[in-house]
Every structure is written in structure tokens, then in C-alpha cells.
């Protein structure tokens, strides 16, 4: 800790990146050991936004604790809520109506697009290009408008409840989603023109921050980060929940494992999400949007685990129940934490600029790491 100021005994420069730094997207604190511009060591310090969500959940009932999880990975709040609702349903063996399942999956995929959209803009901003950020927000805003119409909120929706969804879809929902898909498809080429094809961007990304398949597995990476290294880890394919097993979509895999591969995996995932939404949007079955449940939910005694694929990777919810109305113990396995741990391995021996680029491709959401 003494080393945080000035230089260490070998004459290397010690630099604190964060907790207030434009590159860390929140309150992540990295202690870099630099030799000139070359990175020798990266040490993440966490705890600046710890709200003890897991402890809070222990005093909330099974209906109430879901809303808190929106505040973990706030960019995929729907999917977080979904994971919690699924765990409770699994424990209580609640049959979720078909319509609710369809709505949940559509919402999940829209959230995934919105999240990747923001990541795309923010990552380009890390690399010094400011314009993509605003272009990404144009499309993202359409999704949040759709969310606002149906769920009533733009970011922390709390739309999933045990047994289904809170309210039925807004009458305009299908029309809005279709017009969004159209807008998205017309604008997608711009993403490639502005960023992907750019020679400066490609030089910054290709061959930088390489994470091999073995390392990705041993660091416990998941989501696009691991898939870019060739790890077959899409929960939607491996352990399908809801109606994912009936849907046609590809798990995007890349073998390069560098920053560019992670970038391309996310970009292609957005298109797969569009594909899923297109399959579902015209076929939402009629019926109940919520299963009949008791007013007070009581989980049977035991341990329950459910995992879902968020925009960042695998989110696991682990509930220990003593049979009461509140969980005895709750643990979230969040994707950002393990992805962050691979950062040092990726950027050792590279330049500061590469650190920022590699961190951008990890798509870190600090409240998700720190809960």
C-alpha cells in the first residue's frame, strides 16, 4: 500500500487509475505499475460502491428482493430480475404461462441489445472517438422508450415477478418493437463504417489483450469475453431456460481471443438478439401473463441455484432457504468480477492505451462487480 504513492523500489512508476477516472466507467480503482508506458502489474481495488445487496436481500421477501438486483448490473436489469424470478419459480415449482415466457425472452433480448449498444459507444469513447457514443444512444433510446411504455421505467424495470411478469404488454408493443428492428437494421451498417472498419481502430484492437481458451476457463470468464476465446459457454444454449431451447440462434464463437474478437462477438450477438426478437414478436401466444401465486411466497427448505446469460456473461443466483418468507442466505455469481480478474493477464507488457482498450472490451459494470 505504501507503493501507491510515487515509485516502488525498482524505480517503476505507480499510477492510480480511478476511482475517479474517465476510463474506468465508475468507481473501479486500478493500481498500475508502469515501466515507462509499459504495464508491469495491474491491481484492481474494489469496494467503492459496495452496498451489500446480498445481505439486504436476506431481510426482504421473495417478491421484494427482485427489485434490488436491478441495481447490480443496471444495464441488464431485466435479466437480473429474470434470474431471481426463475430461482424462486424453480424452488416453488411454479409453472410460468407461455405468454409470460415469451414476453420475458423478448425483454431479455431487448435489454441485451440496449446493453451492447451502450458498451459499443462507451468503448469507442475509451479509444478516443466521441461520436459513436451519441449514435449508439439514438438506438438505445428507442429500446428504453419501449421499456418505459410497457414496464413503466427505463433502466431499473422490476418487471419480472415470480410466476410471470408484472403487467401485460402495452398494446403498442409489437408495433414499436418492429419499428425498432427496422431502425436498427438501417443503422447497423453505420457501426461498421464508423468504428469496425476504421484502420486506427483495427490496429488498436487486433492482437491486443489476448486471452487464450485455457486462461479464459481458469479465470472463470464467461459471456462474450470467454466466447471470444473459443469457450462454449452460452447459458442459453448449454442450460436453456424458458423457451430458449425452441429458438433458432447462433452462439457466436471466435478463437482469436483478442480485443477485436471480443468486439466482434458482441456486435454479432446484437444481431442474434434481433433474430430472436424477430422470431418471437409475431407469435406471442394469448393467455395469462402471470401464474396464480400465493400472496406470501414461502420457499421450501433447501438450496436453489439458477443461472442465466446476461449481457456480460453468466449470472448465477444461489438461494439457501430455511423454509421462511425471506432467504436465509443469497449469493450472486456475477460475470463482471471474474472477467475483471483476467485483465492483468491480458494487458501485462502492453501500453496504457491497450489497458483502456482491453478494459473497454470487458464491458465492466462496476456495481455488478461490487454489489
Amino acid at each position: 500500500m505504501v507503493e501507491e504513492i510515487g515509485t516502488n523500489t525498482e524505480g517503476d512508476l505507480i499510477i492510480n487509475v480511478g476511482p475517479q477516472h474517465p476510463a474506468t466507467h465508475g468507481v473501479l480503482h486500478l493500481v498500475l505499475t508502469l515501466s515507462g508506458e509499459t504495464i508491469k502489474k495491474v491491481e484492481p481495488h474494489l469496494g467503492y460502491i459496495h452496498r451489500s445487496i446480498e445481505k439486504m436481500c436476506e431481510s426482504l421477501s421473495y417478491r421484494q428482493f427482485i427489485y434490488v438486483t436491478s441495481r447490480m448490473d443496471y444495464l441488464s436489469s431485466h435479466i437480473n430480475n429474470h434470474a431471481c424470478a426463475l430461482t424462486v419459480e424453480k424452488a416453488m415449482q411454479i409453472e410460468v404461462p407461455q405468454r409470460a415466457q415469451y414476453i420475458r425472452v423478448i425483454m431479455d433480448e431487448l435489454t441485451r441489445i440496449a446493453s451492447h449498444e451502450l458498451w459499443w459507444g462507451a468503448m469507442a469513447m475509451d479509444l478516443g472517438a466521441f461520436t459513436p457514443f451519441f449514435h449508439a444512444f439514438r438506438e438505445r433510446e428507442t429500446i428504453t422508450d419501449i421499456m418505459e411504455k410497457t414496464c413503466g421505467a427505463r433502466l431499473t424495470m422490476n418487471y419480472m415477478v415470480p410466476g410471470g411478469v408484472m403487467v401485460d404488454l402495452h398494446p403498442d408493443f409489437q408495433k414499436d418493437v418492429k419499428s425498432f428492428i427496422q431502425l436498427y437494421k438501417s443503422k447497423f451498417e453505420e457501426y461498421n463504417e464508423l468504428v469496425t472498419g476504421n484502420i486506427i481502430f483495427q490496429n488498436r484492437m487486433k492482437g491486443i489483450g489476448i486471452l487464450s481458451k485455457e486462461d479464459a476457463i481458469s479465470y472463470g470468464c464467461s459471456g462474450p469475453v470467454a466466447r471470444a476465446s473459443g469457450v462454449h459457454c452460452d447459458i442459453r444454449k448449454l442450460y436453456p431456460y424458458e423457451i430458449y431451447s425452441q429458438l433458432e440462434f447462433d452462439e457466436i464463437l471466435d478463437t482469436a481471443g483478442d480485443s477485436f474478437a471480443r468486439y466482434m462477438v458482441r456486435l454479432k450477438e446484437m444481431q442474434q438478439s434481433i433474430r430472436i426478437v424477430e422470431q418471437l414478436i409475431d407469435n406471442i401466444p394469448e393467455g395469462e401473463f402471470q401464474a396464480k401465486t400465493k400472496a406470501v411466497l414461502k420457499l421450501p427448505k433447501g438450496e436453489f441455484y439458477q443461472r442465466v446469460e446476461t449481457a456480460r456473461g453468466e449470472l448465477g443466483v444461489y438461494i439457501v432457504s430455511e423454509g421462511g418468507t425471506t432467504p436465509y442466505r443469497i449469493k450472486f455469481r456475477s460475470p463482471g468480477f471474474s472477467n475483471l480478474s483476467a485483465l492483468e493477464h491480458m494487458v501485462k507488457g502492453l501500453k496504457i492505451g491497450d489497458l483502456v482498450a482491453a478494459m473497454g472490451t470487458l464491458d465492466l459494470v462496476i456495481p455488478d462487480i461490487d454489489r
Binding site: A124, F130, V195, N198, R204, I352
Partner: protein, 358 residues
């Protein structure tokens, strides 16, 4: 016809008629100084506003629109705010150098202004080695930047300053070489002669492909020299927070900020002078009528129009491209720009010797 030349002549005559020659000369010095500072302030405010508007429209937003019509007084309000802010000097800083650095950067920017011809016969100092003077003086600004970075006693600043040093020193080479390729054509280092040699057409048209290549290299090199994105590594916001001016605040920060825009103006003015004929109107071969119409537009408007066009080009770069990495930046210079500009210089020399240009 309106011309700046008339105004300067009138002032000069009036002063000489009423005062002794020495006093008249001194008064002229003061007037030029005041005019230069006023121009600086205006340019700084105008260019910052322009940058913000250009950025806004490219980013599908409106930009400043609250203070004054279309927000034109926004930058004035910002300057007022900056003046009123406390100019903080960090504890561990080398106080003398820390406070000196912004002024060095600013004074260098002012010095380069001297040989630039703003309009027909409207030049502060018509020196016969104008181009040499420009490249010599413009390389001094790196001293101010290094001084600021070192004296701040901040690791971010130090890294930014070191980056800036490496960057400016290397990019000066190709900027210089592309300037020389025009000097080869004109055979003179004097700014005035270079402009006059473009009477019947600008060098970018007359010089065939070599002139175009050297223009492209010139624009890239000066973008790097002025620390603008995509070469803004010295202040790379997402990497070094604000680079060499991280610790500066208030008016001292504003001086750095202003100097950046003044430098852009100056390099674009040089580019306009060398490749687009400075204040020389657009003349096409023997179209007498067309040439005559063009002559009616005042020369100062030609000069500022061309300069602002080039400034827009540089702003366009900034709001489109991501930033390079430091080693890629130096690769680009030493592996691409320098060989190309050397090759281009040879080509230009052949064109000049054989007389292939128009």
C-alpha cells in the same frame, strides 16, 4: 474596394504626419500588439464555438444554444468563468516553471503569427525566410508543454508531456518536408513570394499529384503537431485524464486551451498559404471574366475562408477517428509518412526541374 491594406496605409501616414518617426514606429508596435491580442481572443472564442457546433451536429445533437443566438456567446461566458476561477498551484509543483509554462506556449503561438499574410500587403513582418522562421518557431511550443508536464509533479502530466515531446519532434520532420516540397517549386522561402507565385493557380492544382500528397502529409503532420485527435495522446482523456495540463486550472488552463486553438489556426493558415494561395483569389487559366469576379472578393475573405475550411477538416478528423496508441503514432510517422514524404520530395524536385507544373 475594401482592403485592409488601405487601413494600414492611412494609419501609417497619419502617424508619420503627426509624430516623430520613432514615436510613430513605437505606436505602430503597440497597435500591432493590441491587434494581435484582440485577434487571438476573437479566434479563440470563435474557434471553440465552431468546434463545439461542428462536434454537436456530427453527434446528432444541437450544441451550445442558450447564451446568445445559436449560443455564440457561450464561449465568452466560459472564458469569464475561467478567469474568475482560482488558479491553483499544487504543493509539490515547481512553482516558477509551473506558472511560466502556459505563457511560453502562448508566446510561441503569438510569435508564429508574425510572417503570416492575412490579406494583400497585410503582414506583420515580411521576412525573406518566412517558411524557415515558421518551422523554427513552431517547434518551440513543445518546451512549454514539457515544462508544464514536468513542473506539475503529477505522473499523468509527466507521461502526457513525454508523449507530446516524442510526438512533436517526430512529426515536425514530415511537416517540414512537405513544406519544402512547395519551396522547391517556388524557389523562395518568403511567404509573400510563395503567395505571388500562385497568381495563375494554386499549388495544389499546379503541382500535380506530388503537391496533393504533400498536402495530405502536411495536414496529418500538423494535426499531430497541434496535439489534436486522433493524435491527442498528450492529453488522452481516457488514458491520462487530461495529460500535461491535468493540474492547471482557471486562466492558466484557459491559456493552454486558447493556445491549442491558435495553433490550429496558424497551421491551417500556413497550409492555406502554401497549398491554396493564401489571400490569392481562385484564378482559372484564361477565363478572364471569372477571374475578374473572383478578384472582387476581398483578399482577407479569401484567406480566412481557406483557413477556416482547413480548420473544419481538422475538426472533422477529430470527431470521426479513434485515438492512436503511442507506438503506432511513431510507427505511422517513421514507417509511413517520412518515407512517403521523402519520396514525394524527390518527385516534386523532378517535376520542378523538368518544368512539368503549369
Amino acid at each position: 474596394m475594401f482592403s485592409l491594406e488601405g487601413i494600414t496605409n492611412t494609419v501609417h501616414e497619419w502617424l508619420n504626419n503627426h509624430f516623430s518617426p520613432t514615436l510613430a514606429l513605437l505606436t505602430e508596435f503597440v497597435l500591432v500588439g493590441v491587434a494581435a491580442i484582440a485577434l487571438f481572443a476573437l479566434l479563440g472564442l470563435g474557434l471553440v464555438w465552431m468546434e463545439r457546433k461542428v462536434a454537436a451536429v456530427m453527434q446528432i445533437r444541437l450544441g451550445p444554444n442558450r447564451v446568445g443566438p445559436k449560443g455564440i456567446f457561450q464561449t465568452t461566458a466560459d472564458t469569464l468563468k475561467l478567469i474568475m476561477k482560482e488558479g491553483l498551484t499544487p504543493d509539490g509543483a515547481d512553482k516558477f516553471l509551473f506558472n511560466l509554462a502556459p505563457y511560453i506556449v502562448m508566446i510561441v503561438a503569438m510569435l508564429i503569427l508574425a510572417p503570416i499574410a492575412f490579406a494583400k500587403n497585410f503582414q506583420i513582418w515580411d521576412i525573406n525566410i518566412g517558411v524557415l522562421y515558421l518551422s523554427a518557431v513552431s517547434s518551440l511550443s513543445v518546451i512549454g508543454v514539457l515544462m508544464a508536464g514536468w513542473a506539475s509533479n503529477n505522473k499523468y502530466s509527466l507521461l502526457g508531456a513525454m508523449r507530446s515531446g516524442a510526438q512533436i519532434v517526430s512529426y515536425e520532420l514530415s511537416a517540414g518536408l512537405s513544406v519544402i516540397s512547395i519551396v522547391v517549386m517556388t524557389g523562395s522561402l518568403s511567404i509573400n513570394d510563395i503567395i505571388l507565385s500562385q497568381q495563375n493557380g494554386w499549388w495544389i492544382f499546379k503541382g500535380h499529384i506530388p503537391a496533393f500528397i504533400s498536402f495530405v502529409i502536411f495536414i496529418i503532420a500538423v494535426t499531430a503537431e497541434t496535439n489534436r485527435a486522433p493524435f491527442d495522446l498528450a492529453e488522452a482523456e481516457s488514458e491520462l485524464t487530461a495529460g500535461f495540463h491535468t493540474e492547471y486550472s482557471g486562466m492558466k488552463f484557459a491559456l493552454f486551451f486558447l493556445a491549442e486553438y491558435i495553433n490550429i489556426f496558424i497551421v491551417c493558415a500556413i497550409g492555406a498559404t502554401l497549398f491554396f494561395g493564401g489571400w490569392m483569389p481562385l484564378h482559372i487559366g484564361h477565363w478572364e471574366g471569372f477571374n475578374h469576379v473572383m478578384d472582387y472578393i476581398p483578399s482577407s475573405i479569401w484567406f480566412f475562408g481557406k483557413t477556416i475550411g482547413l480548420i473544419f477538416l481538422i475538426m472533422w478528423f477529430r470527431w470521426t477517428f479513434p485515438r492512436l496508441r503511442i507506438d503506432q503514432l511513431l510507427n505511422l510517422e517513421w514507417k509511413y509518412l517520412l518515407p512517403i514524404s521523402m519520396f514525394n520530395l524527390i518527385l516534386m524536385t523532378i517535376v520542378a526541374i523538368m518544368g512539368w507544373h503549369f
